[in-house]
Symmetry: C2
Subunit: 404 residues, 2 copies
C-alpha cells in the first residue's frame, strides 16, 4: 500500500465533529476510569471483537448493536472488565449504555460499551452512573483525558491521527487504544476507538476495519493471551464533507491506507508498552512459501518466550529464532534460511554466518530500544511483520504481584 | 488404565541387561557432558522425535535408523545440540555413533545419538572422541552418572523405574530424562532413554511408546517452545525371559501401563524442574465435549503466561483461567463452566463462587509446591490433564543472562 496519509498530533477527537472526555468515578481507587467518545452527528459504525468464547457482557451487547452499522457514542470504563458476571453483567452493560444515551439525548442503540480490567466482579454501578453524567458534562475537543481513562497497566496513554486528501479535501482518521498484557492476535485486551470524518457506507467501513485490524492489532503479541473484552470500534460521521465512499476506487484506497496507518501506529504503541517491556521488537519473515506461512513463522518467533527473553538480555541467540520458525507450522528448509538481527547477518543456509564480530554487532543492535529481526526462508515471496516486546522480570512482578 | 505397576528406586539400568555411564569430556567446562546406555543383548527399539521442521543432525540420523526397529546403545551429549550445523553436523553425529559402535564392538546401525545444548555451533569432536572411549570403559549397573551427564539447565537428574508382573514374572521398565526449558507438547528439549527387559515386537513397541509419549511428554509445557532435538528412545531387550509381546492382550496392557507410568513420572519431573520454576501445576479439564477439547483447554490454561505468573504470586485469579479456556479452541459455554483451585470451588456457572474465605483457602493451596487446577466445562465426558510449572523471575534471569 503506497503511503498517502501523514501522521499529525492528535487522537480520537482529531476528526471533525468528535468530542471526548475522561473522568475518575471510583471504579479504580484514584486514576481516571471512565471515558466517553461522542460524534455530534450519527455516524456509520464498524466493529471487530474478541474471538474468545468467553465474551464479556459489553462485547455481547456491541456485537448485537453493530449489525445496524450505525453509532454515535462509545462509553468505556477501566478497572473492571464486566466479564464472567452473568445476567447481572448484561443488565449493567445495558444500563451503562442507557444512561449515556439519556444524558446525551440520543437513541440508546447508537451507544456502544467497552470495559477492561479485572474479570469476575460486578461493575460498581453507582460509580458508573456518576461517571457517565460527569463525562457527558466534560465532553470537549481534547481526547487526552479519554485516552488516559481507558488505561489499565499501560504506562502511557496511546493516541494517533493521520490526515489524507480524498477528492482534494482533507479527511482525518484518529484514534485511541489501550493494551499492555493479554495481547495476542485475535486480539488482546485491546480496546480501541477509531474515528473519522470521512463518509463511508457501513459494509465498506466494516471491511476496511477488518483489513486494518488484520494488519495491526492482529499482528502484535505480548504474552499470547487473548482477552474476553477485546474491541475495536470505528465511527465515520462524514463531517469532512467528502462524498460517501461506497465501493472500490481511489477514495477507498486512500481511506484504507490512512486507517491502516493509524491502526498500525496504535498497535505498535501497545506492543512497545507491553507489561514490563523495555523494547519494541519487529519480526519480519520474508521468502516464505505464502503470506500465511510468513505470518505463522513471524508469530511463532515473536511469541517465543526464549526469543523474547534472550533479546531482553541482549543475546543474539539466533538458534532460538530458527527453532521457533521450525515449529511454527510454516514450511522451513533449514539449509535455505538466513537470519538478520538489525542489519547484521547472523545465520545463513541454516548455520552460523559472519565472524565473532558479527555477533558483537548484533548484540549492539539488541541493546537499543527498537529491535529488528528479519528471517528470510528462501522459499518464495510470502512476507509478514509481527510486533512484540521483550519478556522481562517486570512482566512477572506485574502479574504475580497485583490483581489488575 | 488400571494401575498394575509399582514404582521402584531406579532408572535407566534397572531393567536386566542394561548398563550405563556418564563422563565429563570437555564439551561443557566442568560438568558431566556425555552419557552412554548399553544393552548387553541387541534389543527391539522404538523412537519418538521432534516435529520441528528444523531437526538436529542426531535426530535425522536416529529417524533413519529407527526404521530397523533394532538398537543396542544410545550415546548422548549435553552442552551442544549439534543443530543448525549443516553437513558437518551430520558427519559428526555419524562419527559419534561409529566411535561408540567400535568401542562397544557392536554394529554401527544399532547405535543411536542424542545431543542437547546450544544451537549452531559445531560439536567439539576431540572432546566427544575422548568421552566415548571413557564412557565405554566406565559402563556399569548404576544409571545415576548417565542421568547427570544429560542435564543442561536441569537442577536435578531425572530417573524413574517401575516393576510389573507379566505372566507371573517380573518385568522392569526404567528410564532417564532431561528437560528444563523449551518444553512444550510435540515435544520439548526432552531427551529420554527408556529401557525394559520385556520382549516386545518392534511395531508393538513403537505403538506403545507413541501412546506413552502422548500421555506424558506431550502433556507437559514449560514455555511453549519445541526444540530441534527432542527424542525419546526405548530399548526392549527381552532379558526378563517373558514371552515376546506381539499383539493385544493382558501382557501388552500391563506393559503399556508400566511404560506410561514411567513416562508420566519422568515428564512430571521435567515440568516441576522448568527453568526458574517453584511449583508443579497440574491442570485437569473435564466435562469437555471430547478428549481433544479437554486437551486443548488444559493446554491453553497451562501455557498461559498470565495464569502461570499469577499462580507464582499465589493469586487465585480464576478469570485468567476462564479466559484461557475461552480462547483455547475448545467449546466453552461460560455459564456452565466451574473452576477449582485445589479442593476449593472458586467459580461456577461462569461467575464467582463461594465467599472471600474461599479465595483465601485457594490462595493457601497456591502457596504449596503442588498446585491443582480443575476446570469442569459441564458439556460432556472429555477429560485431559496437562502439567506445567509457574513462570518466575528465575526463568527470565536464566534465559536473558546465559547462553545455554
Amino acid at each position: 500500500m503506497a503511503r498517502v496519509s501523514r501522521l499529525i498530533q492528535g487522537g480520537v477527537t482529531s476528526a471533525q465533529g468528535f468530542l471526548a472526555s475522561g473522568v475518575h468515578c471510583g471504579i479504580k481507587p484514584q486514576k481516571k476510569d471512565l471515558a466517553l467518545v461522542f460524534s455530534r452527528a450519527p455516524a456509520a459504525a464498524a466493529g471487530v471483537f474478541t474471538t474468545n468464547k468467553v465474551k464479556a457482557a459489553p462485547v455481547l451487547l456491541d456485537i448485537e448493536r453493530i449489525r445496524s452499522g450505525r453509532g454515535q457514542a462509545v462509553v468505556l470504563n477501566s478497572g473492571n472488565a464486566n466479564a464472567c458476571t452473568g445476567e447481572q453483567g448484561m443488565r449493567d452493560a445495558r444500563e451503562m449504555a442507557q444512561l449515556t444515551a439519556q444524558s446525551l439525548e440520543i437513541a440508546e442503540e447508537l451507544v456502544y460499551v467497552c470495559s477492561t480490567g479485572v474479570i469476575g466482579r460486578p461493575l460498581p454501578m453507582d460509580a458508573v452512573r456518576r461517571g457517565v453524567r460527569e463525562a457527558v458534562k466534560l465532553l470537549g475537543p481534547d481526547g487526552a483525558s479519554a485516552a488516559e481513562a481507558i488505561m489499565t497497566t499501560d504506562t502511557v496513554p496511546k493516541a494517533a491521527a493521520v490526515q489524507v486528501s480524498i477528492g482534494g479535501q482533507v479527511v482525518t482518521v484518529g484514534g485511541m487504544t489501550k493494551g499492555a498484557a493479554m495481547i495476542h492476535p485475535q486480539m488482546a485486551t485491546t480496546l480501541s476507538v477509531l474515528t473519522t470524518d470521512a463518509a463511508v457506507a457501513p459494509p465498506v467501513l466494516q471491511a476496511a476495519l477488518r483489513r486494518a485490524a488484520d494488519l495491526s492489532f492482529n499482528r502484535i503479541t505480548v504474552d499470547g493471551d487473548r482477552s474476553t473484552n477485546d474491541t475495536i470500534l470505528l465511527l465515520a460521521n462524514g463531517e469532512a464533507g467528502v462524498p460517501e465512499i461506497s465501493g472500490p476506487g481511489e477514495p477507498l484506497d486512500a481511506f484504507q491506507e490512512a486507517l491502516v496507518t493509524v491502526a498500525v501506529t496504535l498497535a505498535k504503541m501497545v506492543a512497545r508498552d507491553g507489561e514490563g517491556a523495555t523494547k519494541l521488537i519487529e519480526v519480519t519473515v520474508r521468502g516464505a512459501q505464502s503470506e500465511e506461512d510468513a505470518h505463522r513463522a513471524a508469530l511463532a518467533i515473536a511469541s517465543s518466550q526464549l526469543v523474547k527473553t534472550s533479546i531482553h538480555g541482549g543475546l543474539p541467540i539466533w538458534g532460538r529464532i530458527m527453532c521457533a520458525a521450525g515449529y511454527s507450522g510454516a514450511e522451513v528448509q533449514t539449509d535455505r534460511a538466513s537470519i538478520r538481527i538489525g542489519p547484521v547477518l547472523v545465520a545463513e543456509r541454516g548455520g552460523p554466518a559472519g565472524d565473532p564480530e558479527s555477533l558483537e554487532a548484533a548484540a549492539r543492535h539488541l541493546a537499543g530500544d527498537d529491535v529488528q529481526v528479519t528471517v528470510d526462508l528462501g522459499l518464495g515471496r510470502g512476507e509478514a511483520t509481527v510486533w512484540t516486546c521483550d519478556l522481562t522480570e517486570g512482566y512477572i512482578k506485574e502479574n504475580a504481584g497485583t490483581i489488575t
